[in-house]
């Protein structure tokens, strides 16, 4: 059969009545604000065992002390401890409970991104294999390593009964959760969705990026002319989304979202950033092509990715819109980064802040864009937030005043 090829429908804005995050820059919105305004980053030399030598990471302090509720103890792992820490901040649980009370627990879905879930548990279990090579009896694959474990934990923790979805599109996972939520609400599957992403430091990721020779020897310096790679971080970012008419007037909103594939290479971006441009265009069009006041770059700090993104942003905006990466504060938090940076975008809108890249003396002049390297105070009504990942996955969100 043939498909007639009608134009894809644009999805409506969603209200974001509640949001929070935990990362190396701080746990909860107040700590994040303080770090952003005070320009205090959270990157430090890596002190976790078994990691590559001489690197810096964005580690969340205190995770070792976080205790999951007893009924959910089988989910215990670093990733779910970080999820738990995030859920406790900024009244997020109460906001979700209010939505569940209003719509019904079965009408609130959980859609979360992660790249490696609780694989750190499997790494440890491999080191504890017995003489026959078998994994230890107390190792619980389904509730830790499995990707589905993250949304299952959060769904059970928040007492929700709507659909649970684990998104794993590498470093776009957290951003992509917002698009899936839009589709689900428009399709009538649910009335509200807990979206976001959680990823934690693990040996696979750090040794993996080390094998690609992409790790910085210090704190990463995205957009710097002499940038030398990524610092990996960990984060949990959460947002509650619902129809605009179901939220309090004036709530923050997801104004538009767009995604694309490079169809080019597994780990290198398209050199001219065609996929990135197309994802940004789709997000901007969905937001009604209203002007954006700040671009929060994916900006990981690698030579190739930052150059690609600089090119893509120049094609769309020239040097007319200030842009920066906040990964100098947090490191690259992989499958959580899109969600964490959506929360950072929310702070930028609320505070009228463009946070200049940390630790960058001279931005790469080759980009031809307005890279902020110091904080600027100006009206920020709408932020374009970019995420790009392995497998040629691209995602862009427009966050702003509804």
């Amino acid at each position: 059969m043939q498909y007639s090829g009608e134009m894809p429908a644009m999805l409506p804005s969603l209200a974001i009545p509640a949001f929070t995050a935990a990362s190396a820059m701080g746990t909860g919105l107040a700590a994040m604000r303080e770090a952003l305004h005070g320009r205090r980053g959270g990157l430090a030399p890596c002190d976790l065992p078994g990691m590559p030598e001489g690197i810096w990471v964005g580690r969340v302090p205190g995770l070792e002390e976080v205790v999951l509720p007893e009924a959910l103890a089988r989910y215990d792992c670093r990733n779910h401890r970080l999820a738990e820490l995030g859920l406790r901040q900024d009244g997020f649980e109460a906001a979700v409970a209010e939505a569940a009370g209003r719509f019904g627990a079965h009408r609130v879905a959980v859609v979360l991104g992660t790249s490696t879930s609780g694989i750190a548990e499997t790494e440890v279990a491999y080191a504890r294999r017995d003489a026959d090579g078998a994994l230890p009896a107390d190792f619980d694959f389904a509730h830790t390593h499995d990707l589905y474990a993250l949304p299952r934990y959060v769904r059970a923790r928040l007492g929700l009964r709507g659909p649970a979805v684990a998104i794993s599109t590498a470093c776009t996972s957290g951003a992509r959760s917002f698009l899936e939520a839009q589709s689900m609400i428009v399709a009538g599957l649910c009335d509200a969705v807990v979206v976001g992403g959680v990823d934690t430091l693990c040996r696979m990721t750090l040794h993996g990026f080390n094998s690609l020779e992409l790790l910085s020897k210090g704190a990463c310096r995205p957009c710097a002319v002499d940038r030398d790679g990524i610092s990996i971080g960990e984060a949990a970012g959460f947002a509650l989304v619902m129809r605009v008419e179901d939220a309090a007037p004036g709530s923050l909103a997801l104004l538009g979202a767009g995604a694309s594939a490079d169809g080019h290479h597994m780990s290198s971006p398209h050199p001219e950033g065609l996929g990135a441009i197309s994802a940004m265009r789709a997000a901007l069009a969905a937001a009604g092509d209203a002007p954006v006041d700040y671009v929060n770059l994916h900006g990981t700090g690698t030579r190739a990715n930052d150059a690609m993104e600089g090119n893509a942003v120049r094609v769309l905006f020239g040097n007319g819109v200030p842009c920066s990466s906040t990964k100098g504060w947090t490191g690259h938090t992989l499958g959580a980064s899109g969600a964490l940076e959506a929360v950072i975008a929310a702070i930028c809108v609320a505070d009228g802040l463009v946070p200049g890249c940390l630790g960058v003396k001279e931005p790469d002049p080759g980009f031809g864009v307005d890279v902020a390297v110091a904080n600027r105070a100006l009206p920020v009504r709408r932020v374009l937030s970019n995420s790009f990942g392995f497998g040629g996955s691209n995602c862009a969100l427009v966050i702003g005043q509804g």
């Binding site: 059969m1 499995d146 589905y148 649970a164 979805v165 794993s168 599109t169 899936e180 694309s260």
Partner: protein, 258 residues
């Protein structure tokens, strides 16, 4: 939610493609499980082709079959890839390497370890710039993946290629996540009632549909939770399929031949 099914692909033991498997799936011929051939994806450039693993080849075979059957251009399809295990062999190999002194791992294996590797290779093979999402869902991977794919079709009015695939893990992880055989299926879903109509709803509960003689395959591979739906499609009669979810609730599918 309702959409049309414009193309189907399947590959598993004794199920060598949709047309070749219809009689078995319809219960008109015996199921004879045997080894599964996983050809390197011809549409990929040679360098990329060499890098594809069994799991990626499995996904791309059924995706290509469904896309071809739909008559739609492969590069015009958004994609949803669902898998419980992803590329378990690659992840197993990385876990082994991390256990050696120094812990050095292969860069190619690392970029192949992402859950969206199959989606990435599909995008390269199809030359597609369309949006793509990759999901994990343990034993719910097929059901939840299909829900997301149909939600994309219904909400954005776009054709979507949905692919569910799973391959066995390697020792010792395989003992903790049993997957007996390779299995994959793909559906091209379109925003119209032409062809076969598929309805998808969430429910409080549903009785689990059986795969009859193919029940061992369904029990041994998360993606093979698709079998009752494929059997209904092969039989060409109206049917309802119940897919209970691991933490309660269910997905209920309806098939209405036109």
């Amino acid at each position: 939610m309702r959409c049309g099914i414009a193309g189907v692909g399947v590959l598993g033991p004794g199920l060598p493609g949709w047309e070749a498997s219809r009689a078995v799936l319809a219960g008109e011929a015996p199921w004879e499980p045997g080894p599964v051939v996983l050809p390197p994806p011809a549409a990929l450039p040679a360098t990329e082709r060499r890098r594809t693993s069994a799991a990626v080849r499995l996904a791309l075979v059924v995706a290509a079959e469904a896309a071809a059957a739909s008559g739609l251009a492969p590069d015009a399809l958004e994609t949803v890839f669902a898998s419980s295990n992803g590329d378990g062999a690659v992840i197993g190999s990385i876990l082994e390497a991390l256990s050696t002194p120094g812990g050095a791992i292969s860069p190619t294996q690392f970029h192949n370890s992402v859950h969206n590797a199959a989606a990435g290779y599909w995008g390269i093979a199809a030359g597609s710039h369309c949006a793509s999402v990759s999901l994990g869902g343990h034993d719910d991977s097929f059901a939840i993946g299909l829900v997301q794919a149909v939600a994309a079709v219904v909400s954005r009015r776009v054709p979507v290629l949905f692919c569910a695939y799973d391959a066995p893990l390697t020792p010792p992880l395989d003992a903790r996540r049993l997957t007996d055989a390779v299995f994959a299926t793909a559906l091209v879903l379109v925003p119209s009632d032409a062809g076969v109509v598929l309805s998808v709803e969430m429910a409080e509960r549903a009785e689990a549909s059986s795969a009859g003689d193919l029940a061992p395959l369904m029990a041994g591979n998360p993606a093979a939770r698709a079998l009752p739906l494929l059997q209904a499609l092969a039989a060409g009669a109206a049917a309802q399929v119940g897919l209970p979810l691991v933490d309660g609730g269910a997905v209920v599918l309806g098939v209405e031949p036109c």
